[in-house]
Amino acid sequence: MAQATRDEGKKVNSDINVTPMVDVMLVLLIIFMVVTPMLNNKVNIELPPATAAVVMEDASKEDAIVVAVTRDGKTFLGGDQVQAADLGPRITDKLENKTDKRVYFRGDIRSNYGKCMDAIDGIRAAGVSQLGMIAEKPLI
């Protein structure tokens, strides 16, 4: 009925209604299930801004090869720290059964460019020619 009626004679129901709470909890569970694998394999890097950046769909895929250089000059392949000299053979291994020979590079805005070039040399040693420089498109 559209209008609430007062039934003062009936017994008062004193149970808490848990259905909305369960709803909210399930939603939070789903959100964290979706977000956690995305945050897991990423090295903490402050990306430089680039206004001309285009969307790179494949970069966020699970099997994308991402090389990262952090602010303190460490080189990471995916989530593992590697020496720049070992990058070549390791990327070659990863590329072996992939058709898309493209590597993504995440450089910190304050990382040393010499270290970045060492990493790029390592990528070049694996025979890769296309490199996607991941950047952040500033919100205008």
Partner: protein, 143 residues
């Protein structure tokens, strides 16, 4: 009402939209969380060093250099002409307006920060240069 024959109360024929709105709000929240993680980036190329070292360098090749100046703001050069970062896009647009080969190279000092070199790649893309190669010291020395 039309259908209810039994009860004295009128049957409600409105659809209950509350669960629908619930589900839509949840989807909205999920996509709001996912959306910022789409990666964006700039395409670059890593050239292999030339096979024959005696080859005559092409004079039409555009190389943008980023030169560090001891911690201060870096200076920029297109081949041998000094430019500022503000005019770089315009200069590149002017150069590549009459060209068919949209190729340029970026060379940066190793003492710089990555964040000082990336704007050059960005300006190149903004000027419509599709192929931007990154020159490292190893490429220059031919290894």
């Amino acid at each position: 009402m039309g259908m209810g024959g039994g009860g004295g109360s009128g049957a409600r024929s409105d659809i209950n939209v509350t669960p629908l709105i619930d589900v839509l709000l949840v989807l909205l929240i999920i996509f709001m969380v996912i959306q910022p993680s789409t990666m964006r980036g700039l395409d670059t190329l890593v050239p292999q060093p030339p096979k024959n070292h005696d080859a005559e360098p092409d004079t039409r090749t555009i190389v943008v250099q980023v030169l560090g100046s001891g911690g201060g703001n870096p200076s920029y050069k297109i081949n041998e002409d000094a430019v500022t970062i503000d005019t770089l896009t315009a200069k590149l647009q002017e150069i590549f307006a009459t060209r068919n080969d949209k190729v340029m190279f970026v060379k940066g000092d190793k003492d710089l920060d990555f964040g000082q070199v990336l704007p050059v790649i960005n300006d190149g893309h903004a000027a419509g240069v599709d192929n931007i190669g990154i020159i490292t010291p190893a490429v220059e020395s031919g290894h």
